[in-house]
């Protein structure tokens, strides 16, 4: 499967359909030049995009703005999407760039973790498993330079090479960030840290 981005860059996807509670089948889709089919396709991917944006932005309202803006950008650039089957990674890339653009443009204020802690209004529904709650909280505590590649890899299905291309980093740097992201999560979840591959201490 190929990503055909608005910029014209492309990459080979390793896994464009990661496990997801929201089914987003893109099999047997009509041609991308059919506006109704395309709007339907975009809309079907919206929950995935919103989830991705929420894990990046850690703010529901900002995530909704990002997805809205991304869908408008995608709609304007719809001619760049040659293969509807590549819509998901294409849109995820747009969302990531919109998130990065928003932070660069607005220099958003730092968000206190107390403000972004998951609400516990429906603890029985949302988090029946305490360990999972701790882990979700730990993921949100990760600095963006670790959270972003992790979310791209796990939710986006992007390979380390694709993430490196998207973040303009070397593959080794991405591997190190992914290693450290998981190592920090281990520590935040009360597990022992694995010895850091770069030899530096890993602090939460």
């Amino acid at each position: 499967m190929r990503i055909i981005a608005a910029s014209g860059k492309s990459a080979v996807m390793r896994n464009s359909q990661p496990d997801s509670p929201v089914s987003s089948s893109t099999d047997q889709l009509p041609p991308a030049d059919a506006p109704a089919a395309l709007t339907q396709l975009f809309e079907s991917l919206r929950p995935d995009l919103l989830r991705f944006a929420q894990w990046l932005a850690r703010d529901r309202a900002i995530a909704e703005d990002i997805v809205q803006e991304s869908l408008l950008r995608a709609w304007r650039s719809r001619d760049a999407l040659k293969d509807p089957a590549a819509a998901r990674p294409w849109l995820l890339t747009i969302v990531r760039r919109e998130h990065a653009r928003l932070y660069e443009r607005k220099r958003l204020e730092l968000v206190s973790l107390d403000d972004v802690v998951e609400t516990q209004a429906f603890p029985k529904v949302a988090e029946p498993d305490d360990d999972l709650f701790t882990l979700r909280h730990a993921i949100m505590k990760l600095p963006i330079e670790y959270r972003e590649p992790l979310v791209l890899q796990v939710l986006g299905g992007f390979s380390a090479e694709e993430i490196a291309h998207e973040l303009e980093l070397s593959s080794t740097a991405v591997l190190t960030r992914l290693f450290r992201a998981r190592n920090k999560l281990r520590v935040l979840c009360g597990m022992s840290a694995a010895p850091d591959v770069a030899g530096d201490p890993v602090a939460p």
Binding site: V22, P47, R51, R60, W75, V116, V125, R136, V154, R182
Partner: protein, 224 residues
């Protein structure tokens, strides 16, 4: 590949299985242990990320007027776009997603454990639903994430065998529609501003259950 390289690869992508790594693991018990540990942890990470975080909306400083006007124009354009999407969205895609969801929970058909009426009621109320049905008929009850909302996913024992009922408060359908997809027979039934999906394996009769559910489901006005 040495231990440091193996650990970097495992820690960076525990799901990766390169031949080089495999070869190293066969001869290194420490890295094999680390691989197993990270594999289990990775499953938790994937489960943790599978749902969006439940975030509170934060109050933000009002932007300048020109930005508000630009935003209003964008919102209006988006509303038109979404209205178009909403009107054009075919019910077939909803049916397909319902079937895909049910296929993702194959064990639901074989559930035999008794579920208390209180548990069922709690699951339904979490999704903003009240259901007047005999709890003895319900063999399986879960709150499932579907199209951006938690929805009740039930398996009900009928005279014709088990049938799945998914209550879709946020998915309106215009008329009652039958569908056949991937070995399942189903119906989408409008209820108020939402709908109910009833389906069974093969060609089972679900008309009675669909009609019953249509009568017995009520939306809670104050639900999220």
């Amino acid at each position: 590949m040495n231990c440091q390289e193996a650990r970097l690869q495992i820690g960076a992508d525990p799901m990766a299985h390169s031949a080089e790594l495999q070869e190293h693991l066969e001869g290194c018990a420490d890295c094999r242990r680390f691989h197993a540990e990270m594999g289990a942890f990775e499953a938790d990470i994937r489960r943790a990320l599978a749902r969006p975080p439940q975030l509170q909306r934060r109050a933000r400083v009002a932007p300048p007027l020109w930005r508000q006007l630009a935003l209003a124009a964008s919102v209006a354009a988006a509303a038109v776009l979404l209205a178009g999407v909403w009107l054009l969205r075919p019910t077939e895609s909803l049916a397909r997603e319902v079937v895909a969801h049910v296929q993702g929970e194959p064990n639901s058909w074989f559930a035999t454990e008794h579920i208390s009426a209180a548990d069922i009621d709690a699951k339904l109320r979490q999704a903003g639903v009240v259901l007047d049905i005999n709890s003895d008929q319900i063999m399986y009850a879960q709150s499932c994430w579907f199209r951006g909302h938690y929805v009740p996913h039930l398996v009900v024992q009928t005279a014709h065998g088990p049938a799945t009922v998914i209550i879709l408060k946020h998915e309106p359908v215009r008329t009652r529609q039958a569908f056949q997809e991937s070995g399942f027979s189903g119906e989408l039934v409008p209820v108020g501003t939402g709908s109910i999906a009833v389906l069974t394996r093969g060609d089972g009769n679900i008309d009675d259950l669909a009609a019953q559910m249509q009568q017995e489901v009520h939306w809670m006005p104050d639900a999220h």
